[in-house]
């Protein structure tokens, strides 16, 4: 399709396609490279930030955890009274700012004074005063509380799931529980659980203070996946990340949540559930609590500079391509407009109008050259046509003259057949087919007296007008010299003398001349360098008429010609011909040759003289097919009827 379009179109398509591909490659590489750079930078920063935040959290948790650990150590290794224990616990709560409350909860009957359950609890009330209560007096048994039961069953210390403190006014708390043991009768037995409660408001402060770009944020989930800190307050202490995932039908989020609660860390792409923006999320676990801290980095905001740069590059690129488009259109037009005009002019010239104006092209480029060439072509063509017109006129004149010459030449040959209708003794037929308008072959026949028929075939060297003139001279001379009672050798010798006498152009003619006695069939003949004729005997046998060793006429003035005789019997035929027959060529430059001629003669059965000649001619033309005739073809045949 495209090869049918104009130059302008091709230029635009190919150049713009090439430029666009190059530009897109550069743009794409630039985009990916800068993006990767940012991602790498963000990942590094994110991991650092998450690591810092987690260690900050772990620092606080570990320092708080040390308090109940120390109390447990004390309980396992020291003896104490009821009062000492209470005072000790009270001072612990009073002296530790981070600790909201602390309890020492005993296993049934493990506190000395015979009580089944005992769990002194000191806590700060709303005004900061230290209050006391015995949890054993609560309706719900502390033995079944998570903070007691889980470390009891697991026999290890741990942070509880955060919970809302109902007494202290909506603050999120978590309790660190440490089991302590007593050796009784050589057996280590659980004696109770020491706890310290802390408010998690500092955790919220740490995580909420994380501000990444405009909308980035941090959040914390517990080991159950419950949100402890999250910008969406409805989620906090209410939903788990798995509920959120179920509500959003987001399996990926559930898997991510499982990785988080299983203490894994990572850096993953993540769609924020708050802003619904694509973010990078880094997450890492707090070692002491098992909670997972995540920070979200909004991609579009962090990529803003890259995006801005890429947008600018893209705009510049598109503007450049548009500019290039305009330039190509302009250039293409300066090329195609004169081309189109020149094409029009060339078409005008082609119609033969050579006076048409060739549009002038000022540019000195290839188009200018083309315009000059066209102008030169027009002038040359005009001159050539003028010359040609003259030449054609001249040739036409010559041709018409030649046509006249042809007519004259043909006119001097006897052409009416049968030539002697009142002579039953023999039949005669002859033909001459010149290769050009006029030719150098000749034939003739006439009676010398009542009984003697003189006949001849000749071939002048060369062709065309000189040959035809020489032929006319030869024919006239023979007709003049052949008089009654002269033998063929005398006639030819006389003609030879005349032709040789003044022959500046050094032309010659081969002649076979025979004189047939139509009563007896005796044929006297003289061959002046001509192809030996054939005698086709009545039975079909073919004979070549023996040569007389004569030379072509016009070569040697004093040449002495000899004659011979042969007897022609009833129904014998004589065929005279020129080399135009035997030397006719086909496409492969192969000659028709005597061999083929003889084959034709044998093939033709009992033909009339006319049939014989026309038959040979037909075969010659078939053989030559389309090849132009190069030599005159002349044949003469006589059939002796006795």
């Amino acid at each position: 399709m495209i090869h049918r379009r104009g130059i302008a179109f091709k230029l635009i398509v190919f150049i713009l396609a090439g430029v666009s591909i190059t530009f897109l490659a550069i743009f794409g590489y630039n985009y990916l490279y800068s993006r990767n750079l940012i991602v790498k930078y963000v990942e590094e920063n994110a991991k650092n930030l998450a690591g810092r935040t987690v260690s900050q959290i772990d620092e606080v948790l570990s320092s708080v955890a040390k308090v109940p650990q120390n109390i447990a150590y004390f309980l396992e290794n020291a003896s104490y009274t009821d009062e000492e224990l209470n005072n000790f616990l009270r001072s612990v709560v009073r002296d530790n700012d981070d600790i909201y409350g602390a309890t020492i909860a005993f296993e049934p009957y493990m506190f000395g004074s015979g009580r089944e359950r005992y769990a002194p609890y000191f806590y700060k009330d709303g005004t900061g005063q230290i209050q006391f209560s015995d949890l054993a007096e609560e309706a719900y048994s502390y033995l079944n509380s998570d903070w007691y039961q889980i470390p009891r069953e697991l026999e290890r210390s741990l942070w509880s799931e955060p919970y809302f403190d109902e007494g202290g006014g909506n603050i999120v708390m978590s309790t660190y529980s440490v089991p302590f043991y007593r050796v009784e009768a050589g057996k280590r037995r659980l004696a109770g659980i020491v706890t310290a409660d802390i408010s998690l408001s500092w955790l919220q402060q740490i995580v909420e203070s994380i501000k990444i770009a405009k909308t980035g944020y941090g959040f914390v989930i517990t080991k159950n996946g419950t949100f402890v800190v999250h910008p969406d307050k409805k989620l906090v202490m209410n939903e788990t990340i798995f509920c959120l995932a179920e509500g959003r039908n987001d399996k990926g989020l559930r898997e991510l949540g499982r990785d988080m609660i299983h203490g894994k860390s990572g850096f993953v792409p993540f769609r924020s559930t708050v802003t619904e923006k694509m973010c990078w999320m880094v997450y890492a676990p707090s070692r002491s609590s098992g909670w997972s801290v995540a920070v979200l980095f909004p991609q579009d905001e962090l990529m803003a500079d890259v995006t801005h740069m890429n947008r600018t590059v893209l705009i510049i690129g598109i503007a450049g391509i548009l500019f290039l488009f305009a330039v190509i259109v302009l250039i293409a037009r300066t090329i195609t407009r004169p081309l189109r005009l020149l094409a029009g002019a060339a078409r005008t010239i082609a119609t033969g109008d050579l006076d048409g104006h060739i549009p002038s092209v000022t540019a000195r480029d290839e188009v200018g050259e083309l315009a000059d060439s066209l102008e030169y072509m027009k002038v040359s063509l005009k001159k050539y046509i003028e010359d040609l017109t003259e030449a054609t006129a001249a040739r036409e004149r010559i041709e018409s003259e030649l046509q006249v010459a042809h007519d004259i030449q043909m006119g001097i040959l006897p052409k009416v057949f049968p030539a002697f209708p009142d002579m039953p003794e023999f039949d005669l037929y002859a033909m001459l087919q010149p290769a050009k308008e006029v030719g150098g072959d000749l034939y003739d026949f006439f009676f010398l007296d009542d009984d003697h028929l003189c006949f001849l075939v000749g071939d002048v060297s060369g062709k065309g007008v000189p040959a035809s003139l020489f032929m006319a001279i030869t024919k006239t001379l023979i007709k003049t010299k052949a008089t009654k009672g002269l033998g063929p050798e005398v006639i030819l010798g006389s003609v030879n003398q005349d032709l040789s006498m003044d022959n500046p152009s050094l032309m010659f003619v081969t002649v076979f001349l025979g004189i047939l006695n139509i009563r007896t069939g005796r044929l006297a003949y003289c061959n002046g360098g001509h192809n030996p004729p054939y005698i086709i005997r009545a039975g079909g046998a073919l004979e070549t008429i023996e040569t007389t060793g004569g030379m072509a006429l016009g070569v040697m003035e004093d040449f002495s010609y000899q004659s011979k005789t042969v007897t022609i019997r009833k129904n014998d035929s004589i065929l005279l011909f020129t080399d135009g027959v035997t030397e006719a060529m086909n496409e492969r430059h192969e000659l028709f040759s005597e061999k083929r001629l003889e084959e034709v003669l044998i093939t033709l059965e009992e033909p009339s003289v006319e049939e014989l000649i026309q038959g040979i001619l037909k075969k010659v033309f078939e053989y030559c097919h389309d090849v132009e005739q190069t030599d005159d073809i002349t044949m003469l045949a006589i059939r002796f009827n006795g």
Binding site: E161, N238, F242, L244, R254, I261
Partner: protein, 327 residues
């Protein structure tokens, strides 16, 4: 003219009296109702019947007393503070055996939602695997089925009192936990454990189907107005059907009610609960059981379980206990 007018006035007067009397007959019956627990999706049908005016259509002007940890529906029923209450079938039988004249007018749940759950990671895949393992159990009423289960499979387990939270189980403090299918089971899934990581033992699959929630009234209430009781049961069932047909609207109502009671809740969890209630209430549509009915088989299975565990001395008669049969 005057004659005509008097006649007309008299006609209008008579018509007024008549219509007034008819209206008085259609006066709504004022009654109160308490579900066992907070207004979660476990009771969505009653709240939807209330919201959509279905009780009014049945001639009931209902007040719903929101349940919760501080309110015992059986106490309120006994004292007459509430006319209708939902109770577990076990609770209902216990009350009646104790001499509190309650009757069941509709057995809403057909299947027991109580179940035991273990983590596959603890190696428990069959009942036998529980031998010697720690099993978390709730209070007495919730222990009948597990204990029968242990007996059935000849298991010796270490019973650990289980609190309302599932954290003990999540932290591997117990190997097996008690759970309600519509509640704790989903809480566990929502704590990041996948269902294919859990082994579940539904009691109804182990021949221990103890149907749970049913509607109860005092015998006296029933005797005074059996039509009202039937209407209440019918309206409640209709409310449930509406809730199942309109889950989104229902969840919105449930969430609003919970918010009003300041109870933290998530729509996802409530949706799970509503879907499970449907499974429990209409377990097998092809069984031909009419909704709200209680079969003697189920009744005696539960009563005998109670007696075997020493929770009742005598099994109350079925026909005097169950006066439902909503047609």
């Amino acid at each position: 003219m005057t004659k005509h007018r008097i006649f007309l006035m008299a006609a209008v007067f008579l018509f007024c009296i008549a219509s007034h009397a008819w209206a008085a007959e259609k006066t709504l019956e004022k009654v109160s109702f308490i579900p066992q627990w907070v207004p979660q999706a476990q009771f969505a049908g009653y709240y939807m019947a209330y919201e959509k005016g279905i009780y009014e259509r049945y001639g009931i002007d209902l007040t719903i007393i929101p349940g919760g940890p501080e309110k015992s529906p059986s106490d309120l029923l006994e004292k007459g503070t509430a006319d209708f209450a939902t109770l577990w079938l076990t609770t209902g039988i216990q009350l009646r055996a104790k001499g509190v004249p309650v009757v069941n007018i509709a057995q809403m749940l057909k299947r027991s939602a109580l179940m035991l759950i273990a983590k596959k990671s603890s190696g428990i895949e069959r009942p036998e695997d529980m031998n010697g393992r720690k099993v978390g159990l709730w209070g007495p009423v919730f222990q009948i089925q597990p204990r029968s289960f242990f007996k059935k499979y000849g298991l010796e387990v270490r019973e650990i009192p289980q609190s309302y939270s599932v954290n003990l189980f999540l932290r591997d403090g117990v190997d097996v936990a008690s759970a309600m299918w519509y509640n704790e089971y989903h809480t566990i899934l929502s704590s990041g454990i996948n269902s294919d990581e859990l082994t579940t033992f539904f009691f109804h699959e182990h021949g221990l189907n103890f149907p749970e929630d049913g509607i109860y009234v005092l015998e006296e209430t029933y005797r005074r107005n059996p039509e009202l009781c039937r209407s209440f049961a019918k309206a409640s069932l209709e409310g449930w059907q509406y809730a199942f047909d309109h889950p989104e609207e229902t969840i919105a109502v449930v969430m609003r009610n919970l918010e009003r009671e300041h109870i933290p809740a998530t729509a996802v969890h409530q949706k799970w609960m509503l879907d499970r209630m449907k499974d429990l209430m209409l377990p097998d549509a092809s069984s031909g059981e009419s909704p709200g009915s209680l079969s003697p088989e189920d009744y005696y299975r539960v009563a005998m379980g109670l007696k075997a565990n020493g929770l009742i001395d005598e099994i109350p008669g079925f026909t005097s206990f169950y006066l439902g049969g909503v047609k």
